[in-house]
């Protein structure tokens, strides 16, 4: 009985984390999802050290060559090695969305929890503004900013983080509303705890699950957005190897060199599906209804 309060708390968090992870891995789809995401993350880190060729190396001799023993996935219209480019092709996307996702979830949750607690007319008006932002297609909002400010990381990260934080506001607010209605919040209020203490001790632990799943979802939508932007020529800029960009480039030669399209298609899809399977399994393990919504 010498356990201190802190250690008791930590053990429980750890136990829970292990349990959730075990539950996620115990379903086949969850295991596949986690493995896919893990594979891509590892690849993003080590790919520069293992690629056989320089991704910029142009060769007129190898233009649109099919897969060979030396060039496993063939070569693109500039003769560059598709295998090397595909391995490297997720790095920028993962880096940008990997930074933007936590920012989006954090600021969106912060605002959402705030309005969820405040309630009343201020909350209702704030939700109208959120609605107004959501009623504009994401691509329009993003493109206007990108066209004005350029396509660098310094533009893409804040832009993605801002617009993808807005739907998080709604989720965080709804989750807050659910928790606030419960008696343990009333109990804390009646005891006389301050707002901050109630948020920290009573509210946050109970909305964290929802926010975690939401974070995974946001990441997947963001990757989709980033690669779509790249595809349209507004994301990664050449000669950076990027799946979206590679697909756009190879499309023109699709009829006689389909390998240029196939490799990045498989890699990009597997990452996004992996994230979604993980999010699904996570939601199931945490016991949350994942509300399916249109990709706003």
């Amino acid at each position: 009985m010498l356990t201190t309060f802190q250690s008791v708390t930590k053990n429980h968090l750890q136990d829970r984390l292990f349990k959730v992870l075990r539950d996620v891995m115990s379903s086949p789809s969850g295991a596949i999802g986690v493995s896919l995401v893990f594979f891509h993350l590892v690849l993003a880190v080590i790919s520069p050290f293992i690629v056989p060729f320089d991704y910029r190396e142009i060769s007129s001799l190898l233009m649109l060559q099919g897969p060979s023993f030396e060039h496993w996935f063939g070569n693109d219209h500039l003769g560059r090695d598709i295998f090397s480019r595909t391995l490297l092709g997720g790095r920028e996307a993962i880096l940008i969305t990997g930074i933007a996702t936590p920012i989006a979830v954090i600021w969106g949750s912060f605002i959402g929890i705030f309005f969820g607690l405040v309630g009343g007319r201020i909350d209702e008006f704030a939700m109208r503004i959120v609605d107004a932002f959501l009623s504009l297609p994401w691509i329009l909002k993003m493109l206007v900013l990108i066209v004005t400010f350029g396509t660098g990381m310094g533009v893409l990260i804040p832009t993605l983080a801002f617009f993808y934080g807005i739907p998080v506001i709604r989720i965080a607010r709804a989750a807050t509303h659910d928790v606030v209605a419960r008696d343990f919040i009333s109990a804390a209020k009646a005891r006389g705890h301050g707002r901050i203490a109630i948020i920290r001790h009573e509210l946050l632990p109970n909305v964290l699950d929802t926010l975690m799943v939401e974070g995974a979802m946001r990441w997947s939508w963001m990757l989709l957005a980033f690669s779509s932007l790249s595809f349209l020529g507004f994301g990664a800029s050449p000669p950076t190897p990027d799946w979206g960009l590679m697909i756009a480039d190879a499309r023109g030669f699709m009829s006689f060199a389909p390998w240029g399209v196939l490799a990045p298609v498989v890699f990009l899809s597997s990452l996004i599906i992996g994230i979604n399977l993980t999010a699904d399994a996570l939601a199931k393990a945490l016991g949350i209804d994942r509300i399916q919504k249109a990709p706003v």
């Binding site: 309060f5 708390t9 005891r191 632990p205």
Partner: protein, 679 residues
């Protein structure tokens, strides 16, 4: 003889397999025969398997459940061997169900009339043209007012009592030979429950339908059934006539269960039953009740008792039933010690409190209108003394919890003052109260599942008030928490558990500990036992009483259950629609004269006694909003004297020193009227 039986269950075991592929039985070796026209009550606490058994009679198993051994048959047809078509014929036809929560069991998108005529179409020979008339007939038979408009209503438009009656009408549509009732009155108000039960009792008599009545409420069963089957941990432990089981139970569990029910006529705490029933699959090779049994002997733990017959023809599953038979009928509970009340010291005074829930709508704001409504709670003045327990009683919607929340500072009052210790004026909102004021008043909620944060361990839950009020840190926190846990009979090893790892009773103990760790002077109890099983309720009542004696705490105890309040309260206040009707010492309030509302409530209480007959003196209509003028109870009052009830707020009459009644009828006259009724 077996051939004529309506329902026959032989050696039925039902269970499910857990993740580790172990078979966990929910029901174990059930043998039960129900004859045509019999009314049988199935009693047990939550988890005893009583509902599973009732549904199994219809050939229905919930999702993971499967039959492990045995069979059940209806009119000699083995239910689990029937084809889907044959089952459809029986269900709702010869064997009809009246579900627990009719509000959720009626399809929300279908009109009442259509749902009943669906049953008629499936299970009766009534032709399509005659069906509407038959629907009206059924609705009249279950005593629903205005059936012609009712058929066009949707379920959500009816009150709980009306929904339950519709469910009864639906079950009657197929002219069943047997009705299965799955807790049909749980969740209804006392008066509504009494009305529905009288209806069911009359129906059983008129139609000769057999009934299987599943309930945790022995009072309800005593009223409706001739025979009672007591279940414990998935087994039948006792089966006999209502009279035998309720008056002279020969099984130790049934004895303890009966003893744990608070009685309306006894001002004493019911005896608690310690421990909890074993979980599914957790029963040893001996008797399932052995760990909680006060009479247990060595062989009880080693050898599973069989269901054997007593001389009186009961069936009992106990090695020692002959010993139990010789025991006297359960003695009275422990008397409550009241020496601590000091009438000189006033702890809290509510002075003319009014509370209104309605806020100004958008249009009101635009047009600058003030809400001109009648307040939800009005004109509440009560003085509470140190060390006493005051019971606040009323049906749902009476505003009793609202008043508690106002005292706790969670809801603003519209009028009136809350005065603490005779001189401190309590501000309406928690934000404006001092830390010490907050500490001295603590609130315990109805449902511990909701009032304990599911993500906090018991240690963290208890640390919250300690840090806030006393600024304690590690070692002291730990010591104080262990100490309070021991006081609520849990012990220090509970510190690192999460609420989900505790039973309902244990959770409520943690909630009690959280309130008492703040060393409060006044504890507000909001229906603290109504989410618990009877035996657990008795233990929590016992705990509250002991803590009160140890700490000299004052309680405001809110409940809808008059018997529970009787067990604990020194004084009782009755609320109807947010207005006080009667207040006084418990003994006085529970005897004559009473406010007509008190009379109605007391009359509707069902006691676990076959000889107690409820008195139904008022309609069970549900009022949604209080009357702006006149007496609050005017619309339902059985003793209305005339227009004065509608136009003038009745005066407070002093019956005794402290016993006050708010009625236009002089209390002497009221007593005479009520005496006449009693005789």
């Amino acid at each position: 003889m077996g051939n004529k039986s309506l329902i026959e269950i032989r050696d039925l075991s039902i269970g499910f397999s857990n993740l580790a592929k172990q078979l966990l039985p929910i029901l174990r070796n059930i043998d039960l025969t129900i004859e045509a026209g019999e009314t049988v009550g199935l009693v047990g606490e939550s988890g005893s398997g009583k509902s599973t058994l009732a549904l199994a009679m219809m050939g229905y198993l919930g999702n993971p459940l499967k039959v492990l051994t045995g069979s059940t048959s209806f009119r000699n047809q083995s239910t689990f061997d029937l084809s889907a078509r044959e089952l459809e014929q029986i269900r709702g036809g010869e064997l009809a169900l009246i579900p627990q929560n009719a509000g959720q069991a009626l399809t929300p998108t279908q009109r009442i009339g259509r749902q009943i005529s669906e049953s008629l179409k499936l299970h009766s020979k009534v032709s399509e043209v005659d069906r509407p008339a038959r629907v009206l007939e059924l609705l009249t038979q279950v005593r629903l007012p205005d059936p012609t408009t009712l058929v066009d209503r949707y379920p959500h438009e009816l009150s709980g009592g009306q929904q339950q009656r519709v469910a009864v009408a639906m079950a009657l549509a197929g002219e069943p030979d047997a009705l299965l009732l799955d807790e049909p009155t749980t969740g209804l108000d006392v008066t509504t429950q009494a009305h529905v039960l009288e209806l069911l009792r009359d129906l059983a008599k008129e139609t000769g339908t057999a009934m299987v009545y599943v309930s945790h409420d022995l009072g309800a069963i005593a009223r409706v059934c001739d025979r009672v089957v007591v279940m414990y941990a998935g087994e039948i432990v006792l089966d006999g006539s209502v009279r035998q089981v309720l008056l002279k139970p020969v099984h130790p569990y049934a004895r303890s269960l009966l003893a744990s029910i608070p009685k309306l006529r006894e001002a004493s705490l019911p005896a608690a039953l310690d421990g909890r029933p074993p979980a599914a699959g957790d029963v040893g090779k001996g008797c399932a009740f052995v760990e909680r049994c006060k009479m247990a002997e060595d062989r009880c733990a080693l050898e599973r008792p069989l269901l054997q017959f007593t001389k009186a023809g009961e069936r009992v599953r106990c090695h020692l039933f002959e010993k139990v038979e010789k025991l006297a009928a359960s003695g009275p509970g422990s008397a409550v010690d009241r020496s601590l009340i000091s009438h000189a010291t006033e702890v809290l005074a509510l002075d003319n409190i009014a509370i209104s829930y309605t806020t100004r709508g958008l249009w009101d704001q635009i047009l600058g209108r003030q809400p001109n409504d009648t307040p939800t709670v009005d004109d509440i003045s009560i003085v509470i003394h140190k060390g006493e327990t005051i019971g606040l009683v009323g049906e749902s919607g009476s505003g009793k919890s609202t008043i508690l929340k106002a005292i706790a500072g969670l809801i603003p009052t519209r009028n009136g003052r809350i005065i603490y210790n005779g001189n401190e004026l309590l501000k309406a909102s928690v934000d404006q109260r001092s830390n010490d004021q907050l500490r001295r008043i603590q609130l315990i909620f109805q449902n511990p599942d909701d009032s304990l944060n599911p993500r906090q361990t018991v240690a963290e839950i208890l640390a919250q008030p300690l840090r806030l009020y006393f600024g304690l840190s590690n070692q002291e926190l730990h010591d104080r928490s262990v100490e309070i846990l021991e006081r609520v009979r849990l012990g220090g090893h509970y510190l690192d558990r999460l609420p989900s790892q505790l039973s309902g009773g244990e959770k409520q103990r943690v909630a009690v500990a959280r309130a008492f760790i703040a060393e409060p002077e006044l504890v507000l109890c909001d229906e603290v036992t109504s989410a618990l099983d009877v035996s657990v309720q008795a233990a929590v009542l016992e705990l509250l009483n002991r803590l009160q004696r140890e700490f000299g705490t004052t309680y405001i105890f809110v409940s809808h259950d008059l018997a529970v309040v009787r067990a604990l309260a020194d004084r009782v206040a009755l609320l109807y629609q947010g207005r006080l009707c009667e207040i006084g010492p418990a003994a006085d309030v529970y005897s004559l004269p009473s406010h007509p509302y008190t009379e109605v409530l007391l009359g509707a209480v069902l006691e676990p006694d076959p000889d107690s007959v409820p008195v139904l003196s008022a309609d069970d209509i549900v009022e949604l909003s209080p009357m702006p003028v006149g007496c609050a109870f005017q619309r339902r009052c059985p003793r209305r004297v005339g227009d004065i009830c509608e136009t003038k707020t009745p005066p407070w009459q002093q019956v005794d020193d402290e016993h006050l009644i708010r009625c236009h009828i002089p209390h002497i006259e009221l007593r005479e009227l009520q005496m006449g009724r009693a005789n």
